[in-house]
Symmetry: C2
Subunit: 335 residues, 2 copies
């Protein structure tokens, strides 16, 4: 199965990343400030972003080592955002373990997060010199977009109504741009030209949107055995996801009143009733269509990427097929 | 008077900085995320750090415009640390106005601080290309040291005993290295060589230590009319400053018991009694000696700076005399 092959290749990149990451972290002192950094980085995760950096570099004909600084930068940055987001969300758990602010306290979590942010910048300084200014520009611009996305996400919580285009813009900023930047930075580390980098960026943007929409879908309709988190969590917390936003837009009369009456309450059987409403309104298939649309756009960008390279230095075929596989993962997990 | 001339030159650099800063901030959107950034940056301050960046650049024969990116980077970074420190200290006021977390909330203060940190990195990207990697290295390394200093400062609060060398190391990290880096980055923006930059850095380090020790001194023995803050604030909060640390080390018998009995209490007349003890133990003159020692080291570094430039491109005489003036400010304010 394609997904299994993709997972194997991802694991191989993850292994490369982990050894580079261990060496990088060993450069920092063994003091209180860095203990939360080592703890959070040690909780692991799929390392999807650094794997995409390394894959993009190899797909562009570069060597993995050239892209390791960029891979470290995006993963350290991602973990910095997790450390601060967990304070803001008052989240008790991260990857099944106590969050940093629970294990230590809010103040050290703010401060160690700040240090981790600086470390992500220091990691990038080892990138190939000719690529460095451009990498920095992409990295910092993306970082600001991620902050903007988090700000919008927090603002949506206290808003009565959120339109679908506002929601799509929020998830683009909060999650997709960092995937997109990972791919672009991998290609840039290999020295690829602008046209190639633009295609990689767009590929990442659409894959990121597809992943986030898939998260919305699985949180509602996922198999509890396969889905890591509690199914129905978004419904219980009235989270303004694609499903709720579209359902509120489409529902009329009794359906609208029924949906509205569930919000702000946690009455017995809420998840089941809301899921029934979602199905009756057809927002489940709308969401699947939206995902498929993002996957198609991602594949289109990938085709442009391959065209842009023709005649240029050949890249690793395994890396290119990983990128195809990552896009396919979205639809395969649904079937 | 020398101090007045120094202040005039500082104000001139501040004016240059403010117009560059206004232009820089105008590049960012007018959204919620940036409102706390504009608010805090708008509260002003002496802008000592960016003034030192610009002065160091001119003292090295460069043009102010070359150093504006570095000046922006250090001042934006400094304000980012203020925004986060104020959350950690639960401070209600900053420069006489509500702190960001009081005016908005903790979450937006964390997030806007993070954005401000990114903005400081983006500002530096406009630095002269040949200087950029080295500027980035100094900037990020210094940022980590500032985080380490803040961590130590917080840790000292809950510790029974702090030795003087630990205290000096903490204030070096928390406040001096950023002044030192400001001077180095100004010189680097002008294209100066390593020997010159090292002298500038060391000058900044000792000036920074002198300023911090002066703060400790004025908080205890300052003229309430001239000192901006409440005199005796450190004593009332049992802050482990140079004075308290040395007094606890030097006091014996009844003096030691008297000093210990004041800690953790706010009995009527505490400030006066502790000041008497400080005088009797001679830690006030010890602190003045320590300050004078740092000023002498700063002046020594400045002499090395001037030697290192001889024969090279001449720098602005006004800028060099500003640096002398800044060192002299420490001792003049005491007399």
């Amino acid at each position: 199965m394609a997904t299994e092959m993709t997972m194997d290749t991802l694991v191989a990149y993850k292994t490369d990343f982990e050894s580079g990451c261990a060496e990088f972290l060993s450069r920092y002192p063994d003091s209180e400030l860095y203990a939360p950094v080592r703890y959070l980085m040690g909780l692991g995760g799929k390392r999807l972003r650094p794997a995409l950096v390394l894959a993009a570099c190899e797909a562009c004909g570069g060597q993995k080592a050239q892209a390791l600084p960029a891979a470290l930068a995006v993963e350290l940055f991602h973990n910095f955002t997790l450390m601060h987001d967990d304070i803001m969300d008052d989240a008790p758990l991260r990857r099944g373990h106590a969050t940093v602010h629970e294990k230590w306290n809010d103040n050290l979590s703010i401060l160690s997060g700040d240090a981790l942010h600086v470390m992500s910048c220091e990691a990038l300084l080892d990138a190939p010199a000719e690529a460095l200014p451009d990498l920095m520009r992409t990295f910092h611009r993306t970082a600001l977009e991620v902050c903007e996305g988090q700000e919008q996400d927090m603002a949506f919580e206290s808003r009565e109504e959120v339109a679908l285009d506002e929601y799509m813009e929020m998830i683009r900023l909060k999650t997709s741009v960092l995937l997109a930047a990972s791919l672009r930075m991998g290609g840039r580390s290999a020295g690829s030209r602008e046209e190639t980098l633009d295609a990689l960026y767009e590929f990442g943007l659409h894959v990121g949107l597809a992943f986030q929409l898939q998260d919305d879908y699985l949180d509602a309709f996922g198999d509890p055995e396969k889905f890591g988190k509690q199914v129905g969590g978004d419904i219980l917390s009235d989270k303004k996801t694609f499903l709720l936003i579209r359902a509120l837009e489409k529902a009329h009369g009794a359906d609208y009143d029924a949906l509205r009456s569930e919000l702000g309450q946690k009455k017995e059987g809420k998840v089941g009733r809301v899921l029934d409403l979602y199905r009756r309104l057809g927002v489940d298939s709308e969401l699947r269509d939206a995902m498929a649309g993002q996957v198609a756009l991602a594949e289109g960008a990938l085709a442009r990427f391959e065209q842009s390279k023709s005649g240029a230095l050949q890249g690793s075929k395994a890396a290119v097929s990983l990128l195809h596989g990552v896009a396919a993962m979205v639809t395969e997990r649904l079937s």
